[in-house]
């Protein structure tokens, strides 16, 4: 049985990754799970300089999920290179670094710094965070802007580039095609769905940011649908995510066309989710006598 999957020439021991922003750089969850068992750790978004993020409250629970408006608090690339990369290098797992920025130049600066670090397997470009006002999602909601930033990042990147797509668009396939046309090596989707929660007793927004990104099991059907549509529209591989709680959920995404999957909000609910999904996928493959995981990719009929 072979659980390996390959994306843009990079081979992963299994298709299970962590969704950016839900797993830090792995330190906090290394107390719970053996990071060596993961296909990859996708790190929290890092910018060229430290970002303070949004005011609190930053998180809220909603039916079957949560809203967050963290606002990409991060220590900046200097601290990240000195602390987080050496930590992750101790493990036998792939490192994918998520990058955020306010301008094209910001992204390019981080991309170039990471180019010096061969331990970083891939770069994931966050153009879809709904919680920061400048940049970020502005690049991810217009096809021409997405094309432009993808092309600029590709010019400077030493590693393969994943563009992380926002579901908050009219047609996800239009965005996917734009990224592919600009040279993206892979896509990841979906980022969170913009939502809102109101405290009816206080008559106030629950989040200080008013809106936040929704994640958790309640968004899974939307995510599966978008992965399927995107897989039909482009040739480049897809990393699927959105509410994955179990191996069964992960397999849905793979059958819909994802070459790999990421666990996000469910890390908060069950810190062992990632490794349980790895085990569960193996069980599924045994049960249905699937020799290669890759045989399942896009195998829905």
């Amino acid at each position: 049985m072979n659980t390996q999957t390959t994306i843009a020439g990079i081979t992963f021991k299994n298709p299970v990754m962590t969704a950016s922003g839900t797993f830090g750089s792995g330190m906090e969850y290394s107390e719970f799970v053996d990071l060596n068992q993961l296909g990859a750790v996708v790190t929290k978004g890092v910018a060229n300089v430290p970002w303070p993020g949004n005011p609190t409250p930053r998180v809220a629970e909603v039916y079957g999920g949560m809203l967050n408006a963290i606002g990409l608090q991060n220590p900046g690339i200097d601290v990240f290179m000195e602390r987080d990369i050496p930590f992750l290098k101790q493990y036998d797992t792939r490192i994918i670094v998520n990058i955020c920025g306010k301008t094209v130049e910001d992204y390019v600066e981080v991309v170039e710094r990471l180019g010096e670090e061969p331990a970083v397997a891939m770069l994931e470009i966050n153009v879809s965070c709904p919680n920061v006002k400048e940049g970020a999602i502005a690049f991810g909601q217009k096809a021409d802007a997405l094309f432009h930033i993808t092309r600029e990042v590709k010019k400077h990147a030493r590693q393969p580039v994943i563009m992380k797509l926002s579901p908050n668009v009219t047609d996800i396939t239009e965005m996917a095609r734009a990224a592919e046309a600009a040279g993206a090596d892979a896509l990841s989707l979906i980022n969170t769905i913009t939502g809102m929660k109101i405290d009816i007793h206080k008559r106030k927004f629950v989040l200080a940011n008013k809106t936040g990104g929704m994640s958790g099991p309640a968004i899974k059907p939307v995510a599966v649908r978008m992965v399927y549509q995107t897989a039909q529209a482009v040739q480049i591989p897809i990393i699927g995510m959105g509410g994955i709680a179990t191996a069964e959920d992960a397999i849905e995404f793979i059958l819909a066309g994802a070459s790999a999957v990421s666990i996000g909000a469910m890390n908060f609910v069950n810190p062992y989710t990632t490794v349980e999904v790895v085990r569960g996928i193996e069980e599924y493959m045994r049960q249905y006598q699937v020799e290669n995981l890759t045989d399942l990719i896009g195998a829905v009929q």
């Binding site: 922003g21 839900t22 797993f23 830090g24 906090e28 969850y29 107390e31 719970f32 929290k44 430290p50 970002w51 303070p52 993020g53 609190t56 409250p57 930053r58 998180v59 809220a60 629970e61 039916y63 079957g64 999920g65 949560m66 967050n68 963290i70 608090q73 991060n74 220590p75 900046g76 601290v79 958790g216 099991p217 909000a265 469910m266 890390n267 908060f268 609910v269 069950n270 810190p271 062992y272």
Partner: protein, 256 residues
């Protein structure tokens, strides 16, 4: 060491309106410290996130923990329905806890307000110093008062004046003419702000336990931050994580 495990409920009762007292059997009790908290998970899958609840008391044999919580919503309402023998998923022990060693040989205020009172009990048990315990309640439902009286001099304040001093814990300090070298506190934000101001005025140290909406409880999601005077060690942006860098902070280090 943080772990998520299934605890067994040993007892549960309502000790004041909407305030519940629960003892759970868990090996997490072995490492529990005053001021730390647990993340407790509702079984109802529509409420996914854990509820951060402070540790009220550690049983002497370190095999069980006591929590005292207020029913504030769907998750805690579910917890209130549990009975002896039921199981519950808990993660712990979380947070830094109170630095009890600082109190040795000192005169201290241990201050709790409302649902911030429970962690003060274990704190009172661990502190080696002269303990003046100040508790602020809404009304005559002075839960945990008898437990506290075993560990120090207790001064009560109630908002409606039904027991002790009318007003809050700050009024109780003034009315009773109390003094201390050091403060430990947990309670609502207005109370903690008043304590921060009092400590600054009296040039004394105050350790305050903060609360914020949390998701992961382990420092990964960056949901529960507090503004800090100095650059925080994690994100280097003067935003410390309450769940892991706290929940206990020195009052003058945080901007509340």
């Amino acid at each position: 060491m943080k772990e998520k495990e299934t605890a067994i409920i040993l007892s549960q009762r309502e000790i004041a309106p909407q305030i519940y007292n629960m003892w759970i059997e868990t090996y997490l009790a072995e490492q529990a410290k005053a001021g730390q908290f647990l993340c407790i998970y509702p079984k109802d899958k529509s409420t996914l996130l854990p509820r951060p609840i402070s540790i009220c008391e550690v049983r002497e044999d370190r095999k069980a923990l006591r929590i005292v919580y207020r029913v504030a919503g769907q998750g805690t309402r579910e917890f209130a329905g549990y009975r002896r023998g039921d199981t519950i998923a808990v993660m712990g022990t979380l947070g830094n806890g109170f630095p009890v060693e600082d109190a040795v040989g000192k005169k201290v205020f241990l201050m709790g307000g409302g649902i911030g009172i429970p962690p003060i009990l274990q704190l009172a048990k661990e502190i080696r110093g002269e303990k003046q315990i100040l508790l602020g309640y809404r009304d005559a439902h002075t839960f945990l008062r008898e437990d506290m009286e075993k560990h120090g001099s207790v001064y009560i304040a109630t908002e409606d004046g039904s027991v002790g001093v009318r007003g809050n814990v700050m009024d109780a300090i003034a009315e009773n003419g109390l003094e201390a070298d050091l403060i430990y506190a947990c309670g609502p934000m207005p109370m903690l702000r008043a304590i921060k101001a009092y400590a600054a005025e009296h040039r004394m140290r105050a350790y305050i336990s903060l609360e914020e909406r949390m998701a992961c409880g382990v420092g990964a999601c960056l949901g529960c931050v507090v503004k800090t005077k100095e650059v925080d060690h994690h994100s280097h942006v003067k935003n410390a994580r309450i769940c892991t860098d706290g929940p206990v902070f020195e009052a003058d280090e945080v901007d509340i």
